[in-house]
């Protein structure tokens, strides 16, 4: 238990010194992605070998007097999920990709003992054949500016000591020497805008809550990252949980709140586990609880698990859910800063916003304002997915162009295909087209073209994507997630989905397109909360940029991208068919029959044109037409 600010600073200096005695550190990615490819086994194997050789150290061992050794540690997501499991060697900065358990011995023998790099485990550009020794030299990392994610992949997320050694909780110590008003002013001046999508200035929220008079105030962290195709917050919660907690305690001190809640999606069990561990450690160290560091300030945090409702990402629905109710939004005003959780003044920010806070205060407002664009300072984390060479988690300064993200960091579109669109901000966002490649990505620029950053999901789509189907996909999602409270959203999304389904099925009319557009505008104007207000964005932006595709579906009865099943039929070329029967086994409707080693046949009556057979056929014998 640390009792004073002084004691915390001394401890940090101790830990820092201890960390300096680590000769080498092996970080094995233990993010959800790499873990599912077996990274924990690699971690255990590495640790076992290093320990057997008597080389293993960690902060505690060093404090006991052991010097110069190798630390093996699990870490948060390194971001380069496409190439997992990842192993990083510090201080050299070597990055090993697609590592297997069997490679552990070689890594220890060559890299740890001889200081040599294991060539075959390095990242190799599949197109140029160039290999990269360190992560920094790989364009995927080189073009990024990882500030909020600085610890993700470089520290053990389950060790508060490592976080403290790297300067963690020092900002909190500094904050305690400032007045709450000054802390709010700092966040205001830094123009920190909410990373959850809306981009509302966090400083205004904090200062409003500070000015409210109430017997109890709350800080709520929104970790209900429900956008399909987004996993930034997950990676922060899994990879650097203490940073989120530190940000929340600072918000509590600045606004006068003494209780904090983190609302995490139930789909993120690892994030819940790491946050729980972090909260327990912070309590043990006296950084959460009563009279923190002897300042007289009390603050504690509770975790609430979501139960699978996308709408709970909306502020008032989220607080309703914490209160044990159906997660439905309410009309505003009163705003959350006046009457939020339990009708008390509440600071509600998203995970990434809180993670920005310690950085701003420790490095200063001027430093922060230099990153990003005017009015949109700082960085933004994006989840880069879809038809892109380098899938993963990235962080770039606000205002970075789409071109830099897709081609420099993302490595472009696989298979030499053309870029067709990028869906930004998930089902509430909109699509961008190649003409937007040089548009700076920040809150204001994106809004001007009808899209929004949303939480930061970037789904890249190549020329083989049908935009009408994409609009249908998002509408299907939003319609299911509509809470049903207000009519425009409840009924409007349902009707829009029906029209989109009709068009995709080849039964749409020109009138349908008009109705769709009117409905989309109405739902946008008339809905109660953010979910409904933005539900039309995918429809409106696809209509704006890809209207000809809608018309092709309706008038010419073709799907230009060749995706929509209604316009397809399949047959088996008896010349090419070898009679392996693979198609028949994958057919979901048992429409394919035949004798092994003889050509198979598709029953057109039964065929639902799903194309599973075409994908399964090893001889390309299933033809469209």
């Amino acid at each position: 238990m640390i009792k004073t600010i002084e004691e915390l600073r001394n401890l940090a200096a101790d830990y820092k010194k201890a960390l300096g005695h680590e000769k080498m550190k092996i970080l094995v990615c233990a993010g959800t992605g790499c873990m599912s490819s077996g990274s924990l086994k690699i971690y255990e194997a590495l640790k076992k070998i290093v320990t057997e050789k008597g080389l293993y150290v960690d902060i505690d061992l060093i404090k006991e007097g052991k010097k110069g050794g190798v630390n093996v540690s699990p870490s948060g997501c390194h971001g380069f999920c496409e190439m997992g499991p990842l192993v990083r060697i510090e201080p050299q900065g070597y990055l090993y990709v697609k590592v297997q358990e069997e490679d552990a011995q070689e890594i220890v023998e060559n890299t740890v003992e001889k200081g040599e790099v294991v060539e075959r485990l390095l990242f190799k550009n599949p197109e140029t054949g160039q290999t990269y020794e360190t992560s920094k030299s790989i364009p995927f990392y080189g073009k990024q500016n990882r500030l909020v994610l600085e610890h993700c992949g470089t520290i053990n997320p389950e060790s508060i000591k490592e976080y403290i050694a790297l300067g963690g909780y020092q900002t909190l110590a500094d904050v305690f020497e400032m007045s709450p008003e000054k802390v709010c002013q700092t966040i205001l001046k830094a123009e920190l805008r909410g990373r959850g999508g809306g981009g509302f200035p966090a400083g205004i929220k904090w200062d409003s809550v500070r000015k409210e008079k109430a017997d109890q105030k709350y800080v709520v962290c929104n970790g209900d990252e429900g956008d399909p195709g987004a996993f930034m917050d997950r990676s922060i919660m899994e990879g650097d949980p203490h940073r989120v907690i530190e940000g929340m305690i600072i918000a509590g001190y600045a606004s006068g709140a003494t209780k904090g809640y983190i609302y995490v999606r139930a789909e993120y069990p690892l994030a819940v586990k790491r946050l729980k561990t972090a909260i327990e450690q912070a309590r043990e160290f006296g950084l959460l609880g009563k009279n923190i560091l002897g300042t007289g300030f009390d603050f504690d945090i509770k975790i609430n698990k979501g139960a699978g409702a996308f709408v709970c990402g909306e502020g008032s629905a989220l607080t309703a859910s914490i209160e044990g109710n159906r997660g439905m939004p309410r009309t505003r005003p009163p705003r959350t800063v006046q009457k939020g959780l339990f009708q008390k003044p509440t600071v509600l920010n998203n995970v990434e916003t809180f993670a920005n806070v310690p950085l701003i205060i420790s490095k200063g407002v001027d430093w922060y304002l230099k990153i990003g664009t005017k009015g949109n300072p700082g960085t933004k984390a994006f989840a880069l997915t879809g038809n892109i060479v380098n899938t993963g988690l990235i962080e770039v300064p606000m205002g970075t162009t789409l071109r830099e993200v897709i081609y420099d960091i993302g490595g472009g579109i696989p298979g030499g295909k053309k870029l067709k669109a990028v869906q930004i901000g998930g089902p509430s966002g909109g699509c961008l087209t190649p003409e937007h490649l040089d548009l700076p990505m920040d809150f204001d620029s994106l809004k001007s073209v009808g899209a929004m950053i949303g939480s930061g999901g970037l789904v890249v789509m190549d020329e083989d994507t049908c935009m009408v189907e994409v609009a249908r996909f998002f509408m299907d999602f939003t319609q299911k997630e509509s809470c049903g409270k207000c009519v425009p959203c409840r009924e409007g999304t349902k009707r829009m989905l029906e029209i989109l389904e009709k068009i995709v099925a080849g039964e749409g009319t020109m009138e349908d397109i008009e109705t769709l557009e009117i409905l989309a505008e109405t739902v946008k104007d008339g809905s109660l909360c953010g979910l409904g207000k933005t539900a039309s964005n995918p429809v409106l932006t696809t209509l704006k940029y890809f209207r000809d595709e809608y018309i092709a579906h309706v008038k010419e009865k073709v799907c230009p991208a060749g995706v929509c099943k209604a316009f397809k039929s399949y047959c088996i070329d008896p010349e090419l068919c070898k009679g392996c029967g693979k198609c028949s086994r994958v057919c979901p409707n048992s429409a394919i029959t035949g004798k092994i080693k003889n050509p198979f046949k598709i029953d057109k009556e039964k065929c639902i044109n799903c194309g599973a057979c075409a994908n399964a056929c090893p001889f390309n014998a299933v033809k469209e037409g």
Binding site: S37, A309, G324, N325, G386, K480
Partner: protein, 171 residues
Amino acid sequence: MAVMVKDYKRSFKKVNEIIESYGRNPVELVSILQEIQEEYRYLPEEILNYIATAMGISPSKVFGVATFYENFSLEPKGKYIIKVCDGTACHVKNSMDLLNALQKKLKLKDGQKTTKDMMFTLETASCLGACGLAPVMVINEEVYGKVTPEKAEKIIDEIMKREGNSDDKNN
């Protein structure tokens, strides 16, 4: 570890323990239901009524919350809950083919989610947040990345083997 439903029939001891651990506080209703579902694998109707009485809130409130959230099920679920991700990233990487293959493998007919032997429940999830590994499926808490229909069938076969269950019995 979950205990079979039959052990709990008409015994509310465990339910009581859970409600008590949350101090009978109605604010904790979502967490209480989550914990009960973890025990029983679903929310039996009689237990929902019991919770309402025990906590002094209306049954309509309890049912309202239980039916609002997607993760709550009023139907019994299988021992293995398979969630196929149909988030954007997985969708563009053909997650629906994966779902179709699993439906066929588990012999699930239209709209049927759970196999008759209560071994498997097949669901979709809107996003599991592991987009880098698309398409993704999760069985209970284990995440499987870059799953092809063939790979999925193999995983199911392994579970069936472990459970001493052959494909035929699963009808």
